[in-house]
Symmetry: C2
Subunit: 633 residues, 2 copies
């Protein structure tokens, strides 16, 4: 300890910069004042890059000191850090060999905005969905035990992620692990403000005076007393309960779940953080460290409006004004239409799982607060809760990102569908979402839902059709009725308004031997390609589906005369609509050529247009198909 | 209170029997001694019927007094009871107009073993999967609030179900509800012994002296003091925190989550139970009541071996000996083979979510305890934990019932598949399961898995093939590799041993124009039908699939010459293998007739043979197809 301090004082005089360090090793040699300077450099690098690339800013500004402390106390990659949610890993990336690549973050072929083991051995596990870290860390810790590896696993979990049931299942199973440390990164803030009693509970202990100082003071005295220190520290490990009885005044929820609890610790005090981490490392049982951080720390616009800077597109670095257009997007159109319907129909309720702004439900909350429910990051609860509402005559509408709906598959099957309840799903961010990459693409909602009996799915191709589908799903349908729509805004619509409906439109060209089928956003690309090719003498017929499930059975007979049928689908192939359609064709004796263009694998981060091009779902790609198969006629 | 007691004394002299009462109304008129007699009659009725029909015995013997107390204190169906898991609802069924039908429980066309709203208005919600009740109750409670209904919702949740993350999400969202009561039915026993720190925590408070007496005593005095009583009781509602500070010595985990806590209460003391329920009803905030019950109470064989009597087939009522055959079933063959492989391969780990016996993993626990993990009812954790193990080189094998795997869809996609981890799934009870009905049929595992990239599924048709598939999945495959097998035992195998493999067998008859395709258990029925029909001059070719995903691409060209192809599949139709196969045929220009025989809706309880007959997956049904389409040749 004292040797370290001498070193500190010498080095303190030296100006040290981020790009001069061998990272992460040399981080350990820095004095605390040097750390502060490096932290400042990291923050300014992050603000600079994210103002250009977009990304998760506020949460990363909040975890700079914590991440540095982790890398100074532990030895990555032998010790493993599991980030939850993974988007708070930017400092970690900068400190583990990716400082120069950091400017490419979230760009195609650049580094990912989430931990990626194939990017660096320092990234223990990929995580784009929340609440996974404790379970992952349990697995790694048990594996270490079995392999006789004495390193540590540290799960860093946000207070928002802590409300997901999976985190609780992880805590419940962590009780016997000797090398597990769970760090609660508590910024009093899920994505759009925290909800629920756990959040209230955390607030109550966050406001208490920290008792970590007391604990540390005792241990420090013990450790620093020659000949007594280390042995006693060892004894501390063995007799933790005794120590706890002396030092701990009131058992926290986490202690009741089998952890030794330290906190709350100031997450921007490097020294405090490191001391508590060093202490935690000495225990032979799971340790829970409650760290208070400030979302947006060090960049005033983000500190003031952390929600706005949770996940951002580009913004003006000097003013902090994000490039938010005032124009509508699918989410806001959905949110406004839902308010409109709910004002006329008092049984309509709106539910979000911590995505009030993302799903456009802020309007509903403002206008009809008594029927608005934000359940926190808890999609399972959202669906089962909705089933409870529906069982007594309400009409719940759950607005959720496609990728997060994956959490509630069993609840859809078991709690909603078996009972025949009427649940409306607003499936936002359906299809490719772009820069967040494989953990966030909305490609599984259709395969999930197609297998569930009595389910209806709509894929509107523009705002107006979205409204039509919502009215149909909410006011007329029964069972599960889902409306899926993409991230972002409606593009300039090229297809005729006459095609707007909630069923399908078959537009036949009598000279055509090719039929093109699509739905949702993709349909417009298909329509444009159809127009382009028509002018070049390649006629095609078109089938636009709006209700994609159940597939209208009469279609098979209507279209089986075509020589070639090509289905363009922005979804996973197996279990998708093109699969149902293909089988239907086989069942009706279609003898021509059936082709599918759909997604078959996970998609790395890139812009949406680039991903659509790669999936062959762009106007250009559709044209190529028409030219290739049109020639043969 | 005192009037009631006078009534009690008069009635006490009368012998009253269950079948003479107008239920549930007249239950309220009984004295406590009469209640005891009725409880005894209920128990003997349950033992008698379940010894014949099979069912959940131990948990139902444990909740007789609790259920009676609920119906005496509350007014069902205006007050709603949500049972979790639903299989503890037998007393409730007997008390709500289904005493005479009780002998038909779990029989085809008889009453269900789970709550069923379409069976009785007293059944608020269907529940066969665990941990749903608090979320459902939250939904019903909010709906009551919106409709100005002042009745109560009571969720009755077992201590096993309490470890599921969904229950935690529900607790976290219950904080503001005024008419919600959660009853923890704590029998210190999940299905096969409890695990995890919550269970340890419950044990610690269960062993403490109850302080419910103190609370009740105070309230009783207040309520019974004329002119002071009720107003003060009202004040209690308003100033609950004050009251809690006076009465509560140590905050429980449930109080920290926003509940008023009462407990532990003796779940077999009718009077105590009713007093605490009446007290709970007076609070204007969510109340948590911790009730201690004894699983199997009142029937000695079940009290001694509650695990054995959790879910039973028939048993001898006098001796308590279940009709357990010593012969193997798919689960035990799986469990034994896994031990065999794990002894040779030290990286193999076995995971169960509270189904050690059901999945045959008891052998693994006995022989290799250090690599055996029972995570409790927590399928999400099981999969993410497995991903953590796999990320560091272990080979986790998660043995799970098909229906419960539904809980972990997102974990399979996000935590396992994106990272490319090697996870082996032993999917037990795949296909129809019989008497447990729609909540337990294993029909969704295939649609869930087919959409996930880099996933392999095997459906062995007998024990020997199960072993082959396990070896392939565990030792040679990568990514998610699932082996699915049915409930129960291998039937007498009729197809030739030469067809055993992990790929497929195409057996062609040159005179045949019909090709029959199937896999797993169903294949044997198809083979038998094929033999029967062949003798009558109706030749068919056969395709037996063992690896059902990915479908071997060469098959399309091999089979497209057939006039008729019929796929028999014990799974949901959409997203099933017959759907993938049909699309593949369409893509390869198959011009014949393709037919599918698969499941399209939820299946009510009945015996397995009866369900297979209904699904047209029996030998008989397959024969009918062959005769119908064979004639046309």
């Amino acid at each position: 300890m004292s040797m370290m301090n001498n070193l500190d004082k010498k080095q303190e005089m030296q100006e040290i910069h981020l790009d001069q360090l061998q990272l992460p090793q040399e981080l350990k040699k820095l004095s605390y004042p040097q750390c502060r300077r490096i932290a400042k450099e990291i923050r300014s690098l992050m603000v600079r890059v994210i103002s250009r690339n977009g990304g998760h800013l506020a949460s990363n500004l909040g975890t700079v000191e914590l991440t540095m402390a982790l890398h100074r106390v532990f030895d990555s990659p032998q010790d493993k850090f599991v980030w939850d949610v993974g988007h708070q890993c930017y400092t970690h990336k900068i400190l583990t060999g990716r400082m120069r690549d950091f400017q490419t973050i979230r760009k195609e072929n650049g580094i990912s905005g989430f931990p990626k083991p194939d990017e660096s051995p320092h990234d223990a596990f990929i995580s784009g969905h929340s609440s996974t870290s404790i379970s992952v860390a349990c697995g790694i810790a048990e594996s270490m035990r079995l392999r006789g590896d004495n390193h540590h696993v540290v799960a860093i979990i946000g207070d928002g992620a802590m409300t997901g049931g999976l985190a609780f299942e992880g805590l419940n199973n962590a009780g016997k692990l000797k090398n597990l440390i769970v760090i609660l990164n508590d910024n009093n803030m899920s994505i759009s403000g925290n909800v629920g009693s756990v959040s209230g509970y955390l607030r109550s202990i966050r406001e208490k005076e920290s008792y970590v100082r007391t604990k540390q003071a005792v241990e420090k005295v013990l450790v620093n007393t020659p000949h007594v220190g280390m042995p006693v520290a060892k004894v501390l490990k063995g007799t933790k309960d005794g120590v706890r009885n002396i030092l701990v005044r009131q058992a926290t929820l986490f202690e009741q779940m089998g952890f030794v609890y330290f906190g709350p610790v100031d997450g921007h005090d490097q020294q405090d953080l490191e001391e508590v981490l060093r202490t935690a490392r000495r225990y032979d049982c799971p340790v829970f460290i409650h760290v208070k951080t400030i979302k947006g720390k060090g960049y005033l616009p983000a500190e003031k409006n952390p929600s706005q800077f949770h996940g951002v597109s580009k913004f003006d670095m000097m003013t902090g004004n994000p490039e938010i257009s005032g124009a509508d997007c699918y989410s806001t159109v959905f949110g406004k239409e839902l308010v409109h319907l709910a004002k006329e129909h008092p049984q309509i309720c709106a539910i979000t799982a911590a995505m009030k702004y993302g799903t456009g439900l802020q309007y509903f909350e403002a206008e009809i607060p008594e029927r608005f429910f934000d359940v926190g990051i808890a999609e399972q609860h959202a669906v089962t809760f909705a089933a409870g509402l529906a069982s007594t005559g309400m009409v719940p509408v759950f607005a959720v990102y496609s990728t997060f709906l994956q959490r509630a598959y069993d609840q859809l099957v078991h709690d909603v569908a078996i009972g025949g309840h009427h649940l409306v799903l607003g499936i936002d961010r359906a299809g490719v979402v772009g820069e967040d990459g494989e953990t966030h693409q909305g490609m599984f909602d259709i395969p999930m839902l197609t297998s569930i009996p009595n389910t209806t799915i709509y894929a509107p191709a523009c705002y107006e059709e979205l409204r039509l589908c919502m009215q149909q799903a909410i006011l007329r349908d029964t069972g599960i009725a889902a409306v899926r729509y993409p991230r972002g805004d409606e593009k300039l619509m090229s297809f005729p308004r006459g095609e707007l409906n909630t069923d399908y439109t078959l537009t036949e060209d009598e000279n055509a031997d090719i039929l093109l089928i699509s739905y949702g956003r993709t349909y417009d690309a298909v329509y444009r390609a159809h127009c382009t090719c028509q002018k070049s003498g390649y006629p095609t017929s078109l089938l636009k589906l709006t209700r994609i499930l159940p597939v209208a059975q009469e279609l098979a007979e209507l279209v089986k005369r075509y020589q070639t049928i090509i289905f363009f689908e922005e979804s996973m192939e197996n279990g998708g609509i093109s699969s149902i359609f293909g089988t239907m064709l086989a069942e009706h004796g279609f003898g021509g050529r059936y082709m599918r263009v759909a997604c078959t694998d996970f998609l790395r981060h890139a812009s949406i247009p680039s991903l659509l091009e790669r999936l062959k779902l762009s106007e250009h790609a559709v044209c190529r198909y028409i030219y290739e198969y049109g020639k043969k006629n």
